[in-house]
Symmetry: C2
Subunit: 559 residues, 2 copies
């Protein structure tokens, strides 16, 4: 048995990309999943809702899987869970808030009845076959975040999850460096470390810094309403807004579906400290004066349907902007969202609102470790092998470079890609055979039914539109019975296209008649001829290249 005494580390997502984190860790017949996330589609995937990892490797090895161990409740770590559970119903382990958020998700997918959710707390160990997983407290932009120490017969693997080092966090509990030090001192076989902020030197600021800024803004805003947009899952940020609201005698209103969902879960599970009369329902808002209110909304990323975007476009049913409102965007635009965020800011300013955003004031800090914190982790754990994870290739390589400078043997640092299989034995680590990996696109109810051909067509359609040509022919009589009819969409203004379309008709008519006069009438050939002729004609007239859909119907004409 070649693989018998090896640990296999197989990332199925999160390598050379940001999102859909999923790592498989195997020893003999025991396999566990670390996290199970989704990612948002890029510009090249129009119409796609979300992207999840290809899990054919998991389906093939389903008999070996002992469970899923989750580091925290962000979408890029939990978003694919319902899709995986639909195929393989394995137990899911995580901290209380993490499982609370997973529960909300499973409810939407009607999986609550069958799912096996197991709550763990920091410091607790769970045995999964020959593997034993311990959850260790870290700081991050969502409470209850953990890194994992996975004890195997060959040594301990530490997976960082997402983390930062915050000595003055809002919950009061910093990352458990003490326990990490203990684990480090006993020897770490392999460390998998997140790389999100590896390009940033120094340390990430403490979350409490933002609270100071809120205090300053609240104290300076005496007459106006305050509206703050942030991530719904950033419970500590929202706690700080609530603290400021209570200090300055304002009522808090929540707006946005995900904000209401996450907050009700967080409050129910005891992650928010709120005085009895602080929160009010949005319908009671008008009973208060502007200076008695703080609104907390979704939409810090300029998402088109979010509360803040609708407010900025005057399309929100309950919240209408007032001239002197103070609007705070307490978030950093995720790469790709910059234009959407700018456009929301401009719309707000257009309505004479006072907008405070990141480049103007300290109203956001990152949830991820910068270079010095990453070095701290490497130096506490002193792992034998190092695998940078969660990042684009530039992040992974930079993290690898830092690890080498910190003294890790350069042959023991592995920059992997999804589907790679790192095999660690007693004596060495090396790359094994790759496993299937990739992305599965979710579009409406379809999981994986949209692929590259469909996306290529969508791109083509979006850039040049289409022309549909229909002609009915009588094959026997070699005659056009009806048509050609031409319809276009997304190509040119119909009212300006008169000459162009009548020209196109002539081109098609001639081509079809020529084909009918030939010896061998083949529909596919006629279609391809129509396509070629029409493409040439339209390009010469417009320098555009619409998709051409020829349809030929065969009928027998009345004689």
């Amino acid at each position: 048995m070649k693989n018998s005494n090896k640990i296999r580390i197989v990332p199925l997502g999160g390598m050379r990309e940001v999102g859909k984190n999923l790592t498989v860790i195997e020893y003999r017949d025991d396999l566990i999943l670390v996290d199970c996330g989704m990612t948002f589609p890029g510009d090249e995937m129009p119409g796609i809702d979300i992207v999840i990892p290809d899990i054919s490797y998991l389906v093939k090895n389903k008999h070996k899987i002992r469970g899923m161990v989750i580091t925290h409740g962000h979408e890029d770590h939990i978003g694919a869970i319902p899709y995986v559970l639909k195929k393989i119903n394995i137990p899911v382990y995580g901290t209380k808030l993490t499982l609370g958020l997973i529960q909300n998700k499973l409810k939407e997918h009607r999986l609550l009845g069958t799912a096996k959710l197991k709550t763990v707390s920091h410091g607790q160990k769970v045995r999964l076959g020959k593997l034993e997983v311990e959850w260790i407290r870290v700081n991050h932009s969502i409470p209850d975040s953990s890194c994992l120490a996975i004890k195997t017969p060959l040594g301990t693997i530490v997976h960082s999850g997402d983390f930062k080092v915050d000595f003055t966090p809002i919950s009061g509990k910093p990352i458990d460096l003490n326990r990490l030090g203990e684990i480090g001192s006993r020897g770490v076989l392999c460390y998998m470390g997140e790389s999100t902020n590896v390009l940033r030197p120094g340390y990430t600021m403490s979350e409490s810094r933002v609270g100071e800024t809120f205090d300053r803004i609240f104290s300076q805003t005496r007459r106006s309403r305050i509206i703050i947009a942030t991530f719904a899952s950033n419970v500590h940020r929202i706690q700080q807004i609530i603290n400021a609201a209570e200090k300055f005698n304002r009522k808090v209103v929540l707006s946005g579906r995900s904000m209401l969902n996450v907050m009700s879960t967080a409050q129910r599970l005891g992650y928010l400290q709120v005085k009895p009369n602080t929160m009010i329902d949005i319908r009671d808002m008008n009973k208060y004066n502007p200076h008695q209110l703080v609104l907390i909304t979704t939409g810090s990323q300029g998402e088109p349907m979010s509360a803040l975007t609708r407010i900025s476009n005057d399309e929100h049913r309950q919240i209408k902007l007032r001239q002197d409102d103070v609007v705070i965007l307490s978030a950093h635009p995720i790469p790709g969202n910059e234009n959407a965020v700018s456009s929301v800011i401009n719309n707000l300013i257009e309505r004479n609102v006072n907008v405070i955003y990141e480049s103007l004031s300290e109203i956001h800090v990152s949830g991820h470790a910068c270079q010095e914190e990453l070095k701290m982790m490497l130096s506490i754990l002193q792992p034998k092998y190092f695998v940078p994870c969660h990042g684009e290739i530039r992040h992974l390589k930079k993290h690898a470079e830092i690890a080498k400078k910190m003294g890790i043997n350069k042959d023991n640092v592995f920059v992997l890609e999804n589907g790679d299989c790192l095999e660690i034995s007693q004596s060495e680590a090396r790359m094994g055979k790759k496993v299937p990996s990739g992305q599965v696109l979710v579009d409406g109810l379809g999981v994986g039914d949209v692929g590259s051909v469909v996306l290529k067509d969508r791109k083509h359609l979006s850039e040049d539109g289409l022309i549909s040509v229909v002609v009915a022919i009588d094959k026997e009589k070699k005659k056009i019975v009806s048509g050609p009819d031409i319809i276009s969409r997304g190509f040119v203004y119909v009212k300006e296209s008169g000459n162009l379309m009548s020209g196109a008709k002539k081109v098609v008519l001639k081509k079809v008649q020529d084909s009918l006069n030939g010896r061998n009438i083949q529909f596919n050939q006629i279609k391809s001829d129509i396509r070629d002729e029409l493409r040439g004609y339209l390009f010469s007239k417009t320098k555009r290249n619409p998709m051409i859909l020829p349809i030929i119907m065969e009928v027998k004409e009345n004689s």
Copy 2:
């Protein structure tokens, strides 16, 4: 005559947007255009090549137009010139390099024979009716940039163009503060000032700072080839690369169509100082060792067809990456291009190349004035009226706020939008009647034939694809003769769509047959019925909403 003694300032582009700068300045029967630029389409305009201002106001007043006065040769200031000249052939005034670049553009549009180009130099004044325009030297990221002092019978209007204050520029000539001071001391009626960097505090670094970084990188790179991507029009940046190349004994190779075009114009007109043997043809590149070469390419914005993008994808015919190449991106990603630039950087790193970009090193400085320079300009000119320009609303409002703090009367500061008409008389300034303005989309040969309906269709097609349904019917016999045939594109994988499509066919068949059995057969009604039925069916099965194109052909069946 109500308007007889008024100056009218009418921006047709560049207000509350970045790009397509075009401002009209009128006095009685004399009208001039300041700049005539284009902008690039946003994500919401797929397939569009460029966007230019609506110039119906100019066409209506063509008899009054005395000429176009251009501040510098960037696309957002000259890109719409060919489109305007095709409708109104007016003289174009600009400095030597500016006109050289306009000439290239007119050549492509076959307008060189008819265009009236008039070269001016800094300090020169040109009389255009009752207006007199003077070009004044400023620093910017392209040589020969100017601000304009426009003398009118009611006072002087100063338009900043794009500028920064660089006391150690590459050309050796800083902005002409002396002349601006003279003009300021005689009294400025109105100042129009660019606002690009108004959100950034402090001063913009000197271009020569980048040269120091190049020197450092070149001196540290002893064995490898150096590849630098930057804007083709940034002649001073390229001059500095050439200087470094000559200092460190490297030959310079240019790559990318626009790079070759701009450089040949700049060199011909004397804007580049190059020793005789420095430049070599790309075909001679293989005669040299890597450490003897610098390649200067386009693609600093991650443009899909640019040299650097093709190099990074191993699709460039002549330039293949080598493992130890040093690639420098000497530019800042323009908002909206961040993801494209990241993807090029990642592709390069994937190929084991050493990539140096803005966040890692000082290899770029902006061409625009920061807050302190903008204040300097306001304080030198001390204008009576102030109109911030070139920027989104947040930039314009911030610039307005700074001007007020600098002592300009708040009633004399005007934040305009495109089409606004600011009327300045001897005694006052106020808003006149708006003129038509907007954006005209250029797609291939079509100028203005793509509008909101076409764009809406393109967006719909890109997100959900389409289904075309064709059915041939015999109206008299109330019978379906052929079909329904169904074709889809950009909707679902064909091979997975079998059941869905046969279900769709049944739905259509039933609906059409029902309609045919009715009393009054109306094709439009049948089409709309098909659309409704099919939309409901497909949404229930897929939660998607493709565009549905029903086509009905009428034929008479053989009996």
